[in-house]
Amino acid sequence: MKDKACIVGVGESAYTRDVELSKSVLAIQLEASMRAIEDAGLSPKQIDGILPSQYGPTTEELAANLGIEELRFATTVHMGGAAAVASLQHAAMAVSSGAAERVLLVSGWNGYSMQRARNILSTNVTVLPGGAIARDYYMPYGLTVPAQWYALIARRHMHEFGTTQEQLGAIALAMRKHASLNDKALMRDRALSLKDYLSAPVIADPYRMFDCCLETDGAAAVVVTSAERAKDRKHRPVYIMGAAAAHPYPADEFTNREDIFHTGLTDAAPKAFAIADVSPSDVDFAEIYDCFTFEVLQQIEETGFCERGEGGAFVEGGRIEIGGELPVNTHGGLLSEAHVLGMSHIVEAARQLRGNLGKRQVKGAEIGVVTGWGDFGDGSIAVLRR
C-alpha cells in the first residue's frame, strides 16, 4: 500500500450552528463533495468509487446527484467516528488494487439543526453496531450516551496513572487556541481560559462542558487517486504512506475488556507505522479524533507518541500546540472547529502537508498522522506525507 495512493482533493460545506441555515444532509454532503472534486481538478463524472458514511445519504443518492455513470466501487465502513480514516484506508486499497481510480469519501450531518448529535444514541442506541447490549445492560442505569461511557474509561485512567482534570483542560485549551487561527472554526472568537474550563458545568464527571465536542451542521469530503494519477494535479499530492483500522475485543461491549485501555488503535497504529516504515517520532503533527478530551490523551498514548500513562504529562506545557513538539488538531478539531464525523481531520492533515496554511501552518511539516475513534473504541489511523 505504501505511497501508492494520494489525497488530491479536499473540501467542506459551510459549518453552521443555526437552524435558519439548515439544509438537508444530502445537500451539504454534495456541497462538500463538489468542493473536493473541484479541488482535485476533476469533474464529478470522473469519480468511479464512493465511500459514503453510515449516517446520511446512500451511495446511490450521491451518485445519482453527481451524475456518476460508471460507479465501480462502493462500500460503507461501520465504525462510527473511526469510519472516515478507515474509509481512507479502503480508498487507498481500492486505487492501489485497480478496483477504482478516483474515489470520493464524504461524511457530514445536521448534528445541530435536526436531531442533536447527543440525542441520536440515547433515542435509539441500536443504530450502533452491537447497540442492543447497551440497550439491555447500560441504558437502564442511565448510561445513555458516549460522554458517559468514555467518562468511565477516563476515570479509570485518572485512578491508575494520576491523570488530572487540568491535563484534560490543556487539551480543550489547545484546540480552542488553534480554532482562533482558523476562519472556518465555529469557536474562533471564543477564547477559553483554564478558569473557564474548570468552572464550566459537569456533564459526566470527569467530563465538563468543554471536554465535549461541538454539535454542528456540516460535511467534508476527500478525493483519493493512485500516485500515478496524482501527478500534475492542481495541488501537490499528499501520499498515504500507511493506514490501518481495527476493532477492540470485544467491540460491542467495553466494560469487560481485560485491558480497558486496549482499543482498536492499539492494534492499528503499529500496523500503519510498519506499512509506512516510519515511527511516531518521525511525525510532525497529528489530527486526532477528539470527541472528548480524554480520547485525545488516550489516542496519543495508544498511537505511541508516549508510553501508556504518560499522556497527561505529554499534553502539558504547550507540547500539543502549534509551535510545540507535536501540534494536535491544528484546525481546532471536533472540540472547537466543527464536528463532521472525522473527515475534517483528514482535510486538515492534507492541507498542512500541502503547506501555505498561514498562521496555523506547522513549520516544516513533512509527515502527519490522522486518527479516528468510534463506537465503543474502534480505531483507525493513517500516516500521510507531502
Binding site: R118, Y137, M139, G142, T144, Q148, P201, A204, T255, N256
Partner: protein, 134 residues
Amino acid sequence: MSDKPLPELAGYAKEFYAWCRRGDLRFQRCSDCDAWRHVPREMCAKCGSAEWKWVKSSGKGTVFTWTVAERAMHPAFADAVPYAPVVVEMDEGVRLVTEIVDCAPSELEIGMRVEVAFAKVSDELTLPKFRRMP
C-alpha cells in the same frame, strides 16, 4: 418526563433478568473451561465451547470505575441527576454496569467492596444494583 429505558426482555437478556427477579445474580459459565462471562454470548470466547450454564455468582465485587452524570442526557433521568453509573468487577472476574444504592456519588471510590442488592422496577423487571459491604 418520559419512561426510563428498559432492557428488551428477549433471548438471553430475558433469562438474565428472570434470574434477577428471583433474587439470583447469575452469569454464564462455560461447561468446558469454567470461564465466566458477561454479557451473555452464544459461545465461550476462551475455548470455543457452546456448552454453558447460568451459575450463581457470589454477588460480591469491587468498584472498578464510575462516572457522575450531572446533566441528564436522556429525559427520563432529568429528576435523577446527579446519579452515578458504576462498573463493578465481580469476584468471578466479570464486570457489569450498575448503580450503588446506598452511596452518594461524592463517596464513590475505586476499590470499594460492594454486594448485590436487587431493585424491583416492575412486576416483569428487577435490576441488579449494589450496596456497600459492611
